[in-house]
Amino acid sequence: MDFNNTQAIYLQIADYVCDKIQLKVWKEDEKIPSVRELAVMLEVNPNTVMRSYEYLQHQEIIYTKRGMGYFAQANAAKSILKTRQQQFMNEELPLLFKKMQLLSIPVTELQNRYEQFINQKNN
């Protein structure tokens, strides 16, 4: 996997796991790859994956069954979506606003573009 240079790798791995769960590639209440399998897949130290899994357990996105490995929580996809929406609103949107202000782009312009984008996608 290509990691970006800015964020800690363990968080990028956590994000990767969240992607899989949110997109239902890894289904809720089903087993996700073991620490070792994911480490090999992503070419990282197993200790780093362990840290990501601990982090995700703490966020209640995954849980562990003794001796059976890690599983996606029942409502994980929904809670990931919610967290990511908040993240977008709190972190990404202010950056977008800053840039829009800098380039004098009115919000109304975005509305049209967004509708066009959705229409194109639906056709």
Binding site: F3, N4, N5, T6, Q7, A8, I9, Y10, L11, Q12, R36, A39, V40, L42, E43, V44, N45, P46, N47, T48, R51
Partner: protein
């Protein structure tokens, strides 16, 4: 697993390469040993595996003294040097000669790595390219299942797909009771594997920290203007703005840039080290 106290070592009486070096290392981790050329990285790893003896001080590895060269100790330590010299025999003969020195040697594992590295297994060792020989030796080193594995620039000479294979193989084999120390200048090849950083400078290990501690104390950032960063320690001009190492006041979770960290440590030694005390 490794416990070194006040180790002093030199090749000539009045020129010590390592002086009063202290180092404690735990199993279950992949240590990256970084240092300038000639800093003494190889001297240190040779002391750890019993190829060189300390002038003074003690070096203990898995409870044994490496200089005693007890076969029981030598069976569980393996050093993969940067330059390798191999006899002109087939892979199979090489295994027949050398694998018996390592009781835990796993032939199936060895051939699996050879396959993953795409090495034609009937070839003689000297007919192989430098990179291929290196891959055979990496496979051998890992198949010994030695408890202490020392590797000197293992990715040197490896082509691009092999570096990827190397990372996958290491991620798949490291065990909780095993220790891998990789000394390298190619940190970008390996920085997703290394979870402890050792820095050898001024004849001593001046830093021994897990990656998560380093990024807890320091933030690694890309900025357009330097005044965007509070408490910068070190910066390098990049294509767009600057790459900066700063004190991590805001508890950011940045990714460790090992090259930047190494340069920061060498140029602002006291300031960087004071973050860890």
């Amino acid at each position: 697993m490794i416990n070194i106290k006040n180790l002093t070592f030199g090749y000539r009486p009045k020129q010590m390469v390592l002086e009063n070096l202290n180092l404690q290392i735990k199993p279950g981790h992949i240590y990256g040993l970084l240092g300038r050329n000639g800093a003494g990285k190889s001297s240190l790893s040779h002391n750890i595996c019993g190829l060189l003896f300390p002038v003074s001080g003690t070096c203990q590895v898995s409870g044994e003294i490496p200089a005693g060269r007890d076969p029981k100790f030598l069976q569980q330590v393996y050093l993969l040097p940067e330059e390798i010299y191999l006899p002109n025999v087939s892979i199979k003969s090489y295994l027949d000669i050398y694998a018996p020195f390592y009781p835990a040697f796993d032939r199936d594992m060895f051939y699996r790595f050879i396959l993953e590295f795409d090495i034609p297994k009937e070839h003689k060792l000297q007919d192989m390219s430098y990179g291929q020989k290196k891959k055979v030796m990496i496979s051998f080193a890992l198949a010994t299942q030695a408890k202490v594995l020392l590797m000197d620039e293992p990715t040197n000479g490896l082509d691009i797909p092999s570096k990827k294979q190397f990372r996958k193989i290491i991620a798949g084999v490291i065990k909780d009771d095993q220790l891998i120390i990789i000394s390298t200048h190619q940190v970008k090849d390996l920085d997703s594997l290394i979870d402890y950083v050792l820095i050898l400078e001024d004849k001593q290990i001046i830093l021994n920290q897990p990656v998560e501690n380093i990024t807890e104390k320091l933030a690694f950032k890309q900025v357009i203007n330097l005044d965007e960063v509070a408490s910068p320690i070190y910066n390098e001009g990049a294509l767009k703005g600057y790459a900066v190492v700063a004190i991590n006041h805001k508890k950011e979770n940045s990714r460790l840039d090992m090259e930047m960290f190494f340069n920061a440590l060498l140029s602002e030694k006291q300031l960087v080290l004071s973050q860890f005390n």
